[in-house]
């Protein structure tokens, strides 16, 4: 790929620092897995994450024993934390697919350094997301009833319900993401197999690499399959959050029954996903000394994508408020007014602060290129996006049409326990991932290097 000349005020650095060669990127990224000693920091991090994960175990067990009454959900607030966290986690996953598929189709070479990590994040986030609907059924051992299969009860799922669409969308999303991720890993696993000195590592990575040998005939089909997978994953990622938004939009609850939900949910998903990539990648880049591979250019670009999607989300909020008023429907108007001034107003205004006001700082190049400040902003966005889902789910449900059926929702200890537990699950997976698999796609990094450019010379000279 040819370096693009950019004017000074835009240019923030190369996609990969000079001085790297085909061998050095392989050794650097592979070395994190093969050579690096287990450090105290990593052990401590894993330990804490695994500790948090016990919250999920305890929460799930208590839920099995007592039923979902241990959560704060009630009538009218039947959805509560389970759906808030489900949507939040699924949204986080979307950045991974965007980076790996959409940016591949758009030929954005800077994605090569971050796609593996972002895709891993997608998988782990979807795993966390999947916990919630399954636990929310109250009888998780019967969760397979969600799928259509011939059964002696002669029951079939309602295929006209968005909740069933969700089952198909999320399970397809997880499967395709996992396949795309694994296919991308194969050449790198071969690199690990070939550079490792330890027999057990050679065996494990060798089996996982399936005997990949970098044959040109293989690469040709491989590249074709990757492009096809990217082409299929692109509409898929847009469809997943669209279907998630249908869970809301197809109902007739004030504040949910709106056509802006699908695009606004997709933009929000990508927004939160990029924020999470930044939250994780800035420390990883720091601890593993990868700032020559994940350069300022990457941080800058990711911050810009976050800013752009954040502005779309801002447009979504504005339109929600405007149409609430403009519909002339008194329930819609009340819902909007209640959201801004009712018992949950504090969350709404915090959400505006976290998602709209603070991220405006990303207009400044200084903020985008200072890792620490950017990291803080990304955490604020993560919190903001969680608050957004809280506000959407709770404020619409708790006061609907009849004042006699109004209620109030507050999460219980066990809601928090399960939520924090999924954070633990996510971080545990991330900690293990960075030590057992190459966290950067090595073969795609090689493609960025000057040494990889083909300059044919007559061979017999």
């Amino acid at each position: 790929m040819q370096p693009v000349e950019l004017p000074d005020k835009i240019y923030v650095g190369p996609v990969i620092d000079e001085g790297h060669s085909l061998g050095s990127v392989s050794d650097k990224v592979g070395g994190i897995v093969l050579k690096r000693k287990i450090t105290l920091g990593w052990t401590l991090g894993l330990f804490i994450s695994f500790g948090l994960l016990q919250g999920l175990a305890a929460g799930a067990i208590w839920l099995f024993v007592k039923g979902i009454g241990v959560w704060g959900v009630n009538i009218p607030d039947g959805w509560g934390f389970a759906i808030i966290n489900f949507v939040w986690w699924i949204g986080i996953g979307h950045a991974g697919t965007l980076i790996s598929a959409i940016l591949l189709l758009l030929n954005q070479s800077w994605r090569n350094a971050i796609n593996r990590f972002a895709e891993a994040m997608t998988l782990f986030a979807v795993m966390c997301a999947g916990m919630f609907p399954v636990l929310h059924t109250g009888r998780p051992w019967l969760a397979y009833w969600l799928f259509p299969y011939p059964n002696t009860m002669d029951l079939w799922p309602q295929v006209r319900s968005p909740l069933l669409w969700d089952v198909f969308a999320v399970s397809t999303y997880f499967t395709i993401s996992a396949v795309f991720w694994y296919i991308g890993l194969v050449p790198d696993l071969a690199t690990l197999r070939d550079t490792s000195k330890k027999p057990w590592q050679q065996k494990v990575y060798g089996m996982l690499a399936m005997g990949w040998r970098g044959s040109a005939r293989h690469w040709q089909r491989y590249e074709k399959a990757s492009l096809l997978l990217a082409g299929l994953a692109t509409p898929l990622v847009l469809s997943v959050h669209t279907v998630v938004s249908f869970d809301f939009a197809v109902s007739i609850i004030p504040g949910w029954h709106t056509t802006i939900f699908p695009p606004y949910f997709v933009a929000g998903a990508i927004y939160s996903g990029f924020a999470m990539v930044l939250t994780l990648m800035i420390p990883v880049r720091q601890f593993y000394g990868l700032d020559d591979i994940i350069t300022m250019r990457h941080l800058n670009n990711m911050a810009k994508v976050a800013l752009a999607t954040g502005m779309i989300v801002f447009y979504g909020y504005s339109m929600e408020a405007f149409f609430g008023y403009f519909s002339g429907d008194k329930f819609e108007r009340f819902m909007m007014w209640n959201r801004m001034t009712g018992p949950y107003a504090i969350f709404y205004w915090c959400l505006i602060l976290c998602n709209i006001l603070i991220p405006q700082s990303l207009w400044s190049k200084k903020v985008r290129t200072s890792p620490f400040i950017l990291w803080l902003v990304s955490i604020v966005i993560n919190i903001g996006m969680w608050l957004e889902r809280f506000v959407i789910v709770v404020t619409s449900l708790h006061r609907d049409f009849l004042p006699s059926s109004w209620g109030y929702y507050a999460p219980t200890f066990w809601d928090w326990s399960v939520f924090v537990g999924t954070l633990g699950l996510f971080l545990t997976c991330i900690f293990l991932f960075v030590r057992v698999l190459p966290l950067i796609t090595i073969f795609e990094l090689r493609m960025l290097l000057p040494g990889a450019q083909v300059k044919e010379v007559p061979a017999h000279q």
Partner: protein, 186 residues
């Protein structure tokens, strides 16, 4: 590294092929082109990254993955839509007299199954046509081949090729300006 030749095995013993090692992708592409022009067909180039120029130099235009994927996607679409029709009629839910076969509501599941089966077909057909998993392969017998997944480029002419002749092919490979040529034991 000087040109080297592993000759511990007697001439006449079966051989998988002869393998030349190159330093740069440009040399490999040029060598592959010349090998093809010289009339060899059973040969392969090995590189640590995809080189699109090789597709042209080696005349690789296998489009079957795309075709299989299209068929897989089509199958998924038909399967998804039929599944919806089946579920809705096997357990009919009459809601306000709405039609049981309500096409717009079937699109999400149809779409998801199109992607699911299409994507799985793309991955599986790629692996199958590449003959993977294939943990053992003769090229791994060459010690320096470990660098094929790191920073070196290899070209192997297989003994099965009708034009293959141990001595003549060796001379030919040497003429391509490699770092070295090795015999590949089967």
């Amino acid at each position: 590294m000087s040109s080297h030749m592993e000759t511990e095995h007697a001439v006449g013993q079966p051989l998988y092929g002869l393998m030349a090692e190159f330093e740069t992708p440009g040399q490999l592409v040029a060598a592959a082109r010349r090998t093809r022009e010289a009339g060899f067909r059973k040969f392969d180039a090995y590189s640590p990254l995809p080189l699109h120029e090789l597709d042209d130099a080696m005349d690789l235009h296998d489009n079957r993955v795309s075709k299989f994927t299209f068929c897989g996607g089509l199958f998924g679409a038909v399967a998804g839509f039929s599944l919806c029709c089946w579920c809705a009629t096997a357990f009919p839910l009459d809601i306000g007299g709405r039609p049981l076969i309500s096409v717009p509501m079937y699109i999400p599941i149809t779409f998801e199954l199109t992607i699911l089966i299409g994507g799985l077909t793309a991955a599986i057909s790629m692996l199958l046509m590449n003959g993977l998993p294939h943990p053992y392969h003769p090229v791994f017998n060459v010690e320096r081949f470990a660098n094929a997944s790191r920073n070196k480029f290899f070209l192997c002419i297989e003994a099965e090729d009708p034009k293959f002749d141990r001595q003549a092919t060796l001379t030919f490979l040497e003429s391509l300006g490699p770092e070295g040529v090795s015999e590949v034991q089967p």
